[in-house]
């Protein structure tokens, strides 16, 4: 019964999303939406992808990674080289962005996932910086002055990628493998003792997260007209981290909501970057002091609707463990 209900909600939300897509597409096609709002919409989509991909790494698997902008950068540059230098079609570029980022995720994941907690955080931060410095030193992709990219990202592209990302990550979380990842988050030693190959699952989460970050990177690159290594510094990583932390570590819908909310706040505060960062940092500090589990905790938004019916049925880890 619950399975039926769950899948009903699943299909319902897909239908709702498609309707939303149709309305937006109608508005855009008829020129009823000004470019500023279209751009905000694309930005929201890209940020949702980044937030959910990091959510898989931090929220589900509990690996505190703060170098996510590194994967974004790898995806952005790989796809930009594909379209601009090698003249492949956009779809190849998007996939290539994802695959290159996934490879980067594996390369960084295998050695550094021997580390835990804050050491891992610093190692991933270092990785993000290394990616930036490498890109800065490659003349082929323009070095510090960056690389010209043509505008290929359109709303259907963004929407399709966001849908695929969210569905894949949601289904992964609910699968056997997702359970294994959650067990790694809850207690790595115990998971190990239960026969779960913790290293495998940590690397898997890293690779999947990196893949979608890379796809987001390719959309990001083709949404702007130029990409520069300085776009992918650790401030970018912190931006993504804030989505996940604010939404609630372990809540997919939470990170999606936070990504939407903060992107809108960001576009309104575009002219006052310091004010934006001050608000962000205050939100982070106050959040950690007063509500460390984030807006949603580990719950999903669907729990708000089904709360009464499934009260005795709290199997989904609704306790508030953070990473």
């Amino acid at each position: 019964m619950t399975i039926l209900k769950k899948s009903k909600g699943f299909w319902l939300s897909i239908v709702v999303a498609l309707i939303f897509f149709g309305i937006m597409q109608f508005f855009i096609a008829n020129g009823m939406l000004n470019p500023f709002y279209i751009n905000t919409l694309m930005f929201i989509g890209i940020n949702i992808m980044l937030a959910t991909s990091l959510h898989l790494i931090i929220g589900i698997t509990g690996q505190f990674s703060i170098g996510h902008a590194g994967f974004l950068a790898v995806g952005a540059y790989a796809s930009a080289v594909m379209t601009m230098k090698l003249e492949f079609p956009f779809i190849v570029a998007v996939l290539a962005g994802g695959i290159f980022a996934a490879v980067a995720g594996m390369v960084i994941g295998i050695p550094s996932l021997r580390l835990k907690g804050d050491y891992l955080a610093i190692a991933t931060l270092g990785f993000g910086e290394i990616v930036r410095i490498i890109l800065l030193n490659i003349e082929y992709v323009g070095g510090a002055s960056g690389m010209q990219v043509s505008h290929l990202t359109t709303w259907p592209w963004v929407f399709a990628c966001v849908m695929i990302t969210v569905i894949v990550i949601r289904n992964f979380t609910n699968s056997t493998h997702g359970r294994a990842c959650i067990s790694v988050r809850e207690d790595e030693t115990a998971a190990d003792a239960m026969g779960i190959n913790t290293t495998y699952y940590k690397v898997a989460a890293f690779v999947i997260g990196a893949f979608f970050a890379g796809v987001a990177g390719s959309l990001y690159a083709h949404n702007f007209y130029i990409i520069q290594p300085s776009n992918f510094g650790f401030l970018k990583s912190f931006d993504i981290l804030i989505f996940v932390v604010l939404g609630g570590l372990g809540s997919l819908s939470g990170s999606v909501l936070a990504a939407i909310l903060l992107t809108i706040v960001t576009t309104f505060l575009q002219d006052y970057p310091e004010t934006r960062m001050i608000i962000y940092s205050l939100v982070l500090i106050l959040m950690m002091i007063f509500r460390p589990q984030g807006l949603m905790g580990t719950r999903e938004i669907t729990a708000l609707f089904t709360h009464k019916k499934t009260k005795g049925d709290q199997k989904d880890g609704s306790h508030n463990t953070v990473a």
Partner: protein, 292 residues
């Protein structure tokens, strides 16, 4: 001779890293928190020194002392306001708070005074060139090195010979047991933050005099590198931070000397990843088995 020149530069830079790394390592040793805001305390120290020298017309030593005192108070404030409520929270929560504090300090300062850089006046210290065996060394780097060494000796004295130092060592060893022995853990932690931040403030003034240009985001990279230095030496171990800092400075200078100056910033992180993989306890650390 070129090589020795670079080594001298490396040691000067390394002593700045070492001073910052000491703060990281002490704080980590006592509360197990990577204090991301430490690099920004260093930046604040640099600005305090700058205003002390230009606006208040102080000379080097008073400016250094003023900066150290201000940073000590600042560090204690950060600890009391942001970190203390999280003493028993998860380490990830504390880490996120530290990132938040760091962003708040940087952007708060940009908000107050703008992002434009300032230049330290170049007449703070005499600019003589000393010739030692054909190597010309600026008197600045000698002074910087000696200030750092004096500060480190004072630190060693405080940690090993005074009551507060004994309390610090006890709390970092086992804070519960220390509490049972009647040590005021909160005050000890605040004292650690004060000492670490004072050293960062001193490093800030020295940095400003040596590199002239200071700006609100200057603390980020030296802060991260100093953390690398602390890990390199074995985090939580005071002599380790000094050696790690000097070593990192020398490595960076050698990389620049080899003609890869653009890669200089990357080297620290590569060192970090190698150290974490092959020698996670650092050069001076002892390997500890994980227990359930």
């Amino acid at each position: 001779m070129e090589l020795i020149q670079q080594l001298v530069n490396g040691v000067s830079l390394g002593s700045i890293y070492a001073l910052i790394a000491l703060g990281y390592t002490m704080v980590y040793g006592i509360v197990k928190l990577i204090n991301f805001a430490h690099g920004d305390v260093f930046m604040v120290g640099s600005f305090v020194g700058f205003y002390a020298i230009t606006v208040m017309d102080l000379s080097f030593i008073p400016a250094l002392l003023l900066s150290m005192v201000t940073c000590a108070i600042f560090g204690v404030l950060i600890e009391r306001i942001a970190y203390k409520p999280l003493r028993n929270a998860t380490r990830i929560a504390a880490l996120i708070t530290a990132i938040g504090v760091s962003l708040l300090i940087e952007n708060g300062l940009i908000y107050v005074r703008g992002a434009q850089p300032e230049a330290y006046p170049n007449n703070v210290l005499p600019m003589d060139k000393l010739d030692i065996f054909g190597v010309s060394i600026s008197s600045q780097s000698i002074l910087i090195l000696s200030v750092s060494i004096i500060l480190m000796i004072i630190l060693q004295f405080v940690v090993h010979k005074t009551k507060i130092g004994k309390a610090m060592r006890a709390v970092s060893f086992d804070s519960e047991a220390a509490k049972l022995m009647g040590i005021n853990v909160n005050n000890t932690i605040s004292a650690t933050f004060a000492i670490g931040s004072a050293l960062a403030g001193a490093a800030g003034v020295i940095f400003g005099i040596y590199y002239i240009k200071i700006e609100p985001l200057m603390g980020v990279l030296p802060g991260l590198k100093a953390f690398v230095a602390a890990v390199l030496g074995g985090i939580g171990i005071i002599p380790g931070a000094m050696v790690g800092g000097l070593l990192l400075g020398i490595i960076e200078a050698l990389v620049s000397a080899a003609g890869y100056s653009l890669w200089r910033d990357g080297v620290a992180f590569i060192v970090l990843i190698f150290i974490l993989i092959f020698l996670p306890q650092g050069l001076f650390g002892k390997n500890r088995r994980e227990k359930v």
